[in-house]
């Protein structure tokens, strides 16, 4: 099955035929399902478990032009010990930085088990030549990145040049070597849920290890319905090809409530097989402190002020 599916990318006509032959997504129905799952009430022990799981799934991210080596080191310290006063708080999954800061992050996280992810491929727009993109990827991998978060060429996708998008992902995957590849679809620019499903399949067929909603630079980013559709895609892809792909919503997940809704979505769409940092990540920066605050509230019954949580 895997080999015959790979053949669909042999030309733009076959790839287009395949992607447009996927079942459609009814927007109203998908929104309704996501909204319903958003009403799940996760309390007490379930909430405590969900908070710890969410912390373990966080890709702690800083992607600003103003990022400095010092800022990255501080964030790495936070990734390993999110709450310095409470050693029972688990580590986050990874930190996510720009390629030129990978070396600092790798150094700061040595031996901690926290992974280093780097965006690449002319993030966030992806507007450059394939050469530049593969070179940038190779640069980040050489600096020690465990994971690469690439962006797809949305312009080519929207123009119907699916093969171009496909081949680019294949090339970046090759440049990754042993590093894991997360493919950012930038769903906020794809405009329809049908496109989100097609782009998900395209990224998976091309060899992506994870599919990721957004760069965080475009709104809307990681909405519940978009994450739902991507979860359905990885579920169907596993059933069709036998290969399991992870999902990473990123952008706009700021509160514990947002994160718990995501976990409910995973639980009731693809099940516990994806409820681990190996298969589901939350790309976020401010989320972590809210998780810590809610965690402390569960343990002590009181909210501490924001000054009791570090800003890194």
């Amino acid at each position: 099955m895997t080999t015959s599916l790979a053949d669909v990318a042999s030309s733009n006509v076959t790839l287009r035929t395949f992607l447009h032959g996927l079942p459609g997504v009814d927007r109203v129905g998908a929104d309704q399902r996501a909204a319903m799952l958003g009403t799940r009430s996760i309390k007490t022990t379930a909430k405590a478990e969900a908070i710890d799981l969410a912390i373990r799934m966080v890709d702690l991210t800083t992607l600003e032009g103003a990022d400095t080596p010092g800022k990255v080191r501080a964030m790495c310290a936070k990734a390993v010990h999110p709450d310095p006063g409470d050693p029972s708080v688990p580590k986050v999954a990874a930190v996510c930085v720009y390629p030129d800061l990978v070396a600092q992050a790798v150094d700061a996280l040595k031996g901690s088990g926290v992974k280093v992810a780097s965006v690449a491929t002319s993030f966030p727009s992806g507007r450059s030549s394939l050469d530049v993109k593969t070179t940038e990827t190779a640069f980040a991998v050489a600096a020690g990145a465990d994971e690469i978060d690439m962006v797809i060429d949305r312009g080519a996708f929207l123009a119907g040049d699916y093969v171009k998008v496909f081949e680019e992902i294949v090339a970046i995957k090759a440049a990754c070597g042993a590093a894991h590849l997360k493919v950012i679809l930038e769903t906020g620019e794809l405009s329809t849920y049908d496109n989100v499903r097609r782009a998900s399949w395209l990224a998976m067929l091309a060899g992506g290890d994870f599919i990721k909603t957004s760069t965080g630079k475009v709104q809307p980013a990681a909405t519940l319905p978009v994450t739902l559709i991507m979860l359905e895609a990885v579920r169907d892809f596993l059933a069709t090809t036998g290969r399991k792909v992870g999902v990473k919503p990123a952008g706009g997940i700021r509160t514990t409530k947002d994160a718990v809704k995501m976990l409910v979505l995973v639980n009731e769409t693809v099940g516990e097989g994806w409820l681990s940092p190996d298969w589901f990540r939350l790309g976020a920066s401010t989320l972590l402190n809210d998780l810590l605050m809610q965690r402390q509230k569960m343990a002590t019954g009181r909210y501490a002020g924001p000054d009791y949580f570090t800003l890194d």
């Binding site: 079942p23 459609g24 129905g29 998908a30 399902r33 009403t39 009430s41 309390k43 516990e272």
Partner: protein
Amino acid sequence: MFEYAPAPESRDVVDIQPSYGLFIDGEFADGTGKSFKTINPASEEVLAEVATASEEDVDRAVRAARKAFGTWSAMPGSERAKYIFRIARIIQERSRELAVLESLDNGKPIRESRDVDLPLVAAHFFYYAGWADKLGYAGYGADPRPLGVAGQVIPWNFPLLMLAWKIAPALACGNTVVLKPAETTPLTALAFAEICRQADLPPGVVNIVTGAGETGAALVNHPDVNKVAFTGSTEVGRQIARSVAGSGKKVTLELGGKAANIVFEDAALDQAVEGIVNGIFFNQGHVCCAGSRLLVQESIATELLEALKRRLGTLRLGDPLDKNTDIGAINSAAQLARIRELSDAGEAEGAERWSPACSLPDKGFWFPPTIFTGVAQSHRIAREEVFGPVLSVLTFRTPAEAVEKANNTPFGLSAGVWTEKGSRILWVASKLRAGVVWANTFNKFDPTSPFGGYKESGYGREGGLHGLEAYLDV
């Protein structure tokens, strides 16, 4: 494994009295019949003792309604509207209490009573309040007149919502009402009686008489009732039609259904699965318009059934007051017996029965979500209304066959069509003999939309502009 901890909605918001009387002429009064108990079907716990209205009690209620009719019908529509708007607002304010009470007495999940029933109840009162001073623009002449006293008998599946469907248009048009709630679910109707007092509704405009079938018969057959509105089984609907024939009473009947939910091969599959689940497992399948016959195109039948079974595995059955419950309790022992009897018949007739692994609580009335495959049109489970969480799956090859099978039923209340092709939706909808046809959705209700059936599903329409006709002398 991500287990959700219990998240029960608090019962403290409701104050259930040990016993309830009848609501006649603005006052609560004892009934002269033998009182009965109403229970929580999820635990079999007795909630309250409720009066039975005898023939004399019903007569008192009708006389009170008759007396009130004079002033109520003479009141300017804009004044009547104020009362109805006030009722709608009080319902919204007390919606959490009413939702909990509904779930306790009926067994439906709080998520449903909170997110579906109560918002619709308020919406119906708001909608018809808006009509009260605009009846001259409804298309029935400049000053259409009300009918008089309406005798209304409602079922147990949506106790407060069915009350709203009946009472809101009746009052807006200037009628007064005597309403009998179902004997297993009287509590929210009695809470509504309190709301009428809270809203200072003139005495006698709304009267609530509780009791079983005899009370309903006394109301329907009362000579001074001008209009009979009934929602319930086709069997009782037939009796009512017979008994009021020739009496000059205007009648609307909302009866049973056996809706076809038709899924074409080009449907949006994940949403179709949700629609099937919502179509038959919403409110434990206690829905007259439930999509109880799934007609799926052969080319996707295997794939769809697999997806449907996977989805059913995630349904959460249990405590109706838990905010995460999807499937609540069956409303009564009698209904549970009927569901069991028909399901056993399905098996005996050769259909294959499937339910997800699902543990049922020890106490109360429960039935797991169930699918029958290999169902033939001739099987009882494809012909008769189960009124429970039981789905019959049939397949078809061509659109024409789908339409033929969908219409091949004595009922005709609702139907669903799932396809990404707009032209096919229109073609199928024009061929289906069903009062409501949903496209790429199911069990969607709105006060602006008329609802009612073909054939044995009854006659007359409730809701929307069309719903006014049933309460006007036109």
